[in-house]
């Protein structure tokens, strides 16, 4: 049977192309425009080439923000992933307690980002916040507004509180899909608790775990609202992550050229890391299928 060539089907893709063009490509192109031009107002632009990119790549301000960003993402991944797995392993498997746990776990995920920030901003205040007052009462010198370490601790604990549930729920779903016979066989084979985790639970969780890590990496790398509400990037620049710095540059200082160049590089970094993740994930899948 001959295949009929019919390219009219491409027209069906057209609406999507139009939507994507208006929602993503055109806005991105205006950013590209800003990144390669300089302006002194009046809507007059002068070609600047890669000048802004050069300035940004060599800027120590950006290097510092990037360092803080990588440190932040690294720390919260190192805490949230093991903690999420641990919680998922210890959650009840069925019954009323399981439902209650699921609801409680999902609650932080449903709170809007700026509300989370406000909650912790007040919670941590030394004058009226429960946490701040309690720590002061037991003699801990805690003040997130002028101690960089305290500010970091607050922002990290807040993120762990906000997002560990996501990792835990994804892992929980992975664990629920393991048939009971696997655990029974492991008991027959006298497998230790660690062996059960290593050879049964972890392989079955691997897929969802990779997604969880990817989501948490992307989200934490782009984090803006919560730390901005709590610390405003301070004290000094101690908690100024990439997004916060970007907003300061673009909206605060109105340096649109450098900010646009910065945005593009920021975008490419996230795209690159996500692509690497995706490639690793699919190649692992292919290995399994063999």
């Amino acid at each position: 049977m001959d295949k009929v060539q019919n390219n009219k089907a491409w027209f069906l893709v057209l609406p999507v192309l139009v939507v994507v063009a208006f929602s993503a490509v055109l806005p991105l192109m205006t950013v590209v425009n800003y990144a390669t031009n300089d302006t002194f107002g009046n809507n007059q632009f002068f070609w600047a080439g890669l000048e802004w990119f050069e300035e940004m790549v060599t800027s120590s301000r950006l290097h510092d923000a990037l360092g803080r960003q990588i440190l932040f993402s690294g720390i919260i991944l190192a805490i949230e992933v093991p903690l999420g797995i641990y919680i998922a392993l210890n959650m009840p498997k069925k019954g009323a307690w399981a439902s209650l746990c699921l609801v409680l776990m999902a609650l932080p995920l449903l709170i809007p980002f700026n509300v989370v920030g406000t909650i912790w901003q007040i919670f941590g205040r030394v004058d009226i916040g429960l946490l701040g007052r309690a720590l002061a009462a037991v003699g801990v010198d805690y003040n997130y507004t002028n101690d960089p370490v305290d500010a970091w601790a607050t922002v990290i604990v807040m993120d762990v509180w906000h997002w560990t549930s996501l990792v835990a729920l994804l892992c929980y779903a992975g664990l629920q899909s393991i048939p009971q016979a696997y655990y029974q066989a492991a008991r027959i084979d006298q497998a230790s608790r660690w062996a059960v985790f290593r050879y049964i639970e972890l392989p079955k969780m691997k897929g969802v775990l990779l997604i969880a890590v990817l989501l948490r990496f992307m989200d934490s790398f782009m984090i803006y609202t919560e730390p901005f509400v709590v610390t405003g990037g301070g004290p000094g620049n101690a908690t100024t992550f990439l997004s916060i710095d970007l907003v300061k540059m673009a909206v605060g200082q109105f340096d649109l050229g450098p900010a646009a160049a910065f945005s593009l590089m920021y975008f490419l970094v996230i795209l690159l890391v996500s692509w690497v993740f995706y490639t690793v994930m699919t190649s692992l899948d292919r290995q399994e299928g063999r």
Partner: protein
Amino acid sequence: MARITLSNLAHSYLPNPKSPADFALKQMDHVWQDGGAYALLGSSGCGKTTLLNIISGLVRPSQGRVLFGERDVTDAETAARNIAQVFQFPVVYDTMTVRQNLAFPLRNRGKDAAYIKARVDQIAAMIGMEAILDRRAQGLTADAKQKISLGRGMVREDVNAILFDEPLTVIDPHMKWELRTQLKSLHREFGHTMIYVTHDQTEALTFADKVVVMSEGTVVQLGTPEELFETPAHTFVGYFIGSPGMNLLDAKIAGTRARLAGAELALARDYGTPQGRTQIGIRPEYVSLTEGDGLPFALSRVEDVGRHRIVRGTVEGQAVNVVVPEGQALGAHLTHVGFAPERINVYADDWRIEGGAV
């Protein structure tokens, strides 16, 4: 290795069982002799798997004790019982190679490497997997995975018993026969106690020395295949074993006579006057078509199954099957069925009664 005793055992999956119907396993006393090859036969949902899981310790019985030899293991963990069990669906450790899978139960028990290697090679030869020992278990076919599960069940030499829970369900028929033969020869060689759960009577009768038939949570008979065939202790056994199953007919029993369908049949033994619902049971193999002796028979159809023919019909509305050997002519003149008196079993309320000497 040890004798396994189930004493006063019963199990319910409900926290507060009230009526007998709440029990998945009704009260039983049962002894599995050391080194026996048993088949546990029964229809789906009759409690076979529950019984197996109680022996291996995966399920704790609601009441009663489990003894290995003289040791009470009712509260002992599965690992402490030193039992091997193979499940209905394959369980393999995906990230390990076939070799690591087979070695896993031995490694967990701290055996030395040389012993493990020798033992794994031996088992691999038995299940025909030497060629793919170093491949990852993931991505193998279902029956290859099940062979790995079987291998893991047999890799330990010192187990108290090996339990098989319908292990050949996913294996293709040719391989089924081969693996069953291997299990049997393994049993002869090492003398492990083996309990083999199945709902397939051919599998049960070819594997086991002793067959335990279960129905609705109760053991209805323990016997050799021959005993199950000749003298089923319960109507369920008569009906479940044999193809087709035993003919069961309501009849009035008085001494050495059975009355049904307006005729009287001679019995080989004296049964007195049993109470309750009384039935006579006779295997289709022992029924013959006659020209006028015996009971009036209305033939409904004939099935030719190759070696013999099965004649299906009724005696006064009750189904009766007859196995007619090859070569024997059928015809319209055969209007009655005769039963061989010494082959007739008598049942009162489904349980076989032992007649007295005449």
